[in-house]
Symmetry: C2
Subunit: 457 residues, 2 copies
Amino acid sequence: MANEKIPYKIYLEESEMPKAWYNLRADMKNKPAPLLNPATHQPMKAEELAPVFCEELIKQELDNDTKFFPIPEEIRNFYKMYRPSPLVRAYCLEEKLGTPAKIYYKFEGNNTSGSHKLNSAIAQAYYAKKQGLKGVTTETGAGQWGTALSMACAYFDLDCKVYMVKVSYEQKPFRREVMRTYGASVTPSPSMDTQVGRKILAEHPGTTGSLGCAISEAVEVATSSEGYRYVLGSVLNQVLLHQSVIGLETKAALDKYGIKPDIIIGCAGGGSNLGGLIAPFMGEKLRGEADYRIVAVEPASCPSLTRGKYAYDFCDTGMVCPLAKMYTLGSGFIPAPNHAGGLRYHGMSSTLSQLYDDGLMEATSVPQTAVFEAAEYFARAEGILPAPESSHAIKVAMDEAIKCKETGEEKTIVFGLTGTGYFDMVAYEKFHDGKMDDYIPTDEEIAANFAKLPKVD
Amino acid sequence: MANEKIPYKIYLEESEMPKAWYNLRADMKNKPAPLLNPATHQPMKAEELAPVFCEELIKQELDNDTKFFPIPEEIRNFYKMYRPSPLVRAYCLEEKLGTPAKIYYKFEGNNTSGSHKLNSAIAQAYYAKKQGLKGVTTETGAGQWGTALSMACAYFDLDCKVYMVKVSYEQKPFRREVMRTYGASVTPSPSMDTQVGRKILAEHPGTTGSLGCAISEAVEVATSSEGYRYVLGSVLNQVLLHQSVIGLETKAALDKYGIKPDIIIGCAGGGSNLGGLIAPFMGEKLRGEADYRIVAVEPASCPSLTRGKYAYDFCDTGMVCPLAKMYTLGSGFIPAPNHAGGLRYHGMSSTLSQLYDDGLMEATSVPQTAVFEAAEYFARAEGILPAPESSHAIKVAMDEAIKCKETGEEKTIVFGLTGTGYFDMVAYEKFHDGKMDDYIPTDEEIAANFAKLPKVD
C-alpha cells in the first residue's frame, strides 16, 4: 500500500494487533541499572519483591534478556475493546501551520481512563487475578492511572484500593466519581488508615498530601493485607514493556503505508508513554537498522532529564520502595503547582535514563503557558482536546514543523498524544483567564535536593 | 465477508464512508406536517425563514422529496477527523449478561464534543460560512451541542455565540471552558444582552433560566445582528438529515458482515440521534424491503412520545419560533430535575412524530435510577463511561437481551451509544450516594399543559 493516499486515521485490523510485547532492554548493550535494596544496597531479588509486587510482574521487571513476552489472550481481548488506537495524520494542523512537514500522532485517549495508562493497568490486573489475589492497591495523582486501574479491576472482578493525593481528591471530584463507577474505593491521602499516614498527619496536620506519601500508604496497605499487592503505573520496566503496544502499533501502521519517521516525540513524566512509543524504533536504532531523532519533552517546572542527576535515588518520599538509578531531581523535590499532574515525578524510568545517558535520545523542557497555547491551537485545528501532559509533545512537534516551514524540509514527525483533557478544565480556565503559573526552579533549589541523594557506591 | 468472525469493533474504510446524507422524508407516504407561521398558521415559506436560518439549511428543511443530499467535500474531510465511528460488538456485555442475543452499538462519543452533535454542527457551520456569514448563535443546555458548534465554528473560523441555560452555566463550568477553548463566547441565559432576557429577568429576578428562554435569546441576537443566523442541534428535519450519517455507517458496517438486526434502539429527546440512526433502516421498512422493530427510549420524567399529544405546538417558550406538529407535553412543561439534560425537551421531531403516529416505531420510557444502574453495569463490562442520555438506550437494549436469555432467542440488537458521560459526574455521584430523583409527572400535570396548546385548525 506504499503509494496509496494516507488516510486521516490509520487503523490496524484486529488481526494486525501485536501478539507480544517488546522488551527494549533485550536490545540494549548497556542495561538499565538494577533496583537496589534500600538497606543493603544489593540488587533486589525476586523473593524480596514478592511481598509487594505480583509474581509474573516481578519476572518481567527483572528480565533484561527476553525480547518478546506473549500478550495473554485475555489481555488481547480487553485491548480489542479500545485498541488498536488510531495513528492520525494531522492534515488540518499541517494546513493551519502551513508546514511541508508530515505530522502523525498516535492517539491513546479514546478510552474512559482518558489515557494510555489502561494498557498496563489491564496487564497488571490480569496477573494479579491469575495469582489468585483479592485485590490491588495503588496511588494516583492526576487520576488517569487510578481510573485505568479501576476499569481493569472491574473487568477482572478484583478489589481496587486507590490512595489519591488529598489535594487532587478535593479538586478533582469527577475523577473520583469515575473510579467509584468502576467500583474502586478511593481514599484521600494522607489518611488515618495507615501508620505512615497517621505519622504524617500528626507531624503536618494541614497537609494536602503528595504522590510520595500516597505511594507509601498504598505499599503499606498491600504488604499488610492478606491477598493484596501493590501496582504502579509508570517508571518500572514492566510498565514500559506493556506500553510497547503503543509503539508496535505505531510502527505497524507506518510500515503499512511505507512511512519512515524522521523525529519521534513524546512527553515524559515517569516515562511510561515515551518508553512505550519509542520502543520498536529505539530497538532498530540499537541494532543499527535505522536511525531516528527521539525527543523526550518534560515540563520546565519538573525537568528530571534536562536538569537532574543520573544517580540512585528513592522512588517514594516514605523511602519504603527499592532504590532506582535514574535521572532525578531528588525524592524531596516538590514541583511548583503545575497542571500536567502526570509529569510531576522527581525521577525517570531507569531504562530511559540509561538510553539518554548513552546519547540515544534527546530531551527538552517547555514552560506551561507555551504548552497550553499549543494545546488550544491543536484543539482548534484537529478537534481533539488534549491533556496537558500530551500537550508537551504537541508543543515540540509544532516547533519542529515550524522549523520545516522555514527550511522547506518535508520531515515526517510522529508524536504521542497520550490522552484527553476533559478532567483538566480548571487548568484550561486558568490559561484562558491569564492566571497560569510558569515557575521554573532555580539551580539552588535543585541542588539542595541533590544533597539528600542516598550514598550508593 | 459474511462468515468471518465479527471483530470487536467494525470500522469502515474512509472510502466506504457515506458521500450523501439520506433524507428519510422522501420515502414517507405521510410526510411530516409543515412548520406553520405562528401568526397566520400558514406553512412557513423559505423567505420567512431566511432572517433566522441559513439559506441552504432552509432548503434542506423544506425538501420532502430529494432522497440524497451530497455531503460537501469540506464536511467529509472534517468527518474524517473523527469518523467513521466504530460499530462495536458488545462481546463483554453479552458474556456478563449471559445472553444468546448479539448486541451491537454505534459509538458516537469519540470526539471532543462527546456526542453525535458534531455531525450536524459541522454541516450547519459549513453552510453559514458558505453564505458569507460572520457567525452563528445558538442555545445549549447540557452543553454537548454548544461544544460541538464551538468546534465546528473554530474549524471554519466563524464567530460562535452560545446562550447557556444559567443553571448549567453555573453547574457545568468545565463544559463552558471547553467552549471557550474553541473560541466561543458563552453567556448565561437569561442575560441583559437581549430584550427577551431583560424582560424575563425583570419578571423573575432569581430565575436560573430554561432552554426555551435561551432559544428566544439566541434567535433575537441572530435576527438583530448583521451577518448572523441561528442554528439548532435537534428537532429540525435538516438535523435529522445530517445525522443520517450515523445510520448509513451503521448499515454499511452491518452489511459488510451480512448482519441483519432484529431490533434497533435509540434514546430520544428532540430526535436527532434516533432519527439519524434509524434513517436507512426505516427507509427499507417504508419501501417494504425489510422489517425491523424500532424503539425510541425517553425518560419517564419527560415522556413526549409515550404520554404526549400529537398536535401543533410552540418550539420555544418565548414563542418566537414557527409552530411544529409533534408529540408534545406542551411548551410550558418543565421536566423535573433530571440529569439527562439532552432529553429534557417538551416536543419531538416532526418526522419521528409522524412515523410513530403511523405505527412504524415503538416508544417506551424508563426511570432515571434504572438508567444509571444500566449505565454502571455497561461501563464495567464494556469500559466506556456512557452519557446519561445514551444510557436510556443501554437500559432497553439490556432488557431486550435479558428477554432473549429467558426465551433462548438469538436476536440481533443494535443501539445508539450517542456519547460519553465525562461531564455528568455530578449525576453519577448522586446515583452512587443514593440521592437520585425518580420523579414522574402526574396525568394532571401533563394535562394542564395540553390546555395551553395553540389552536390550529
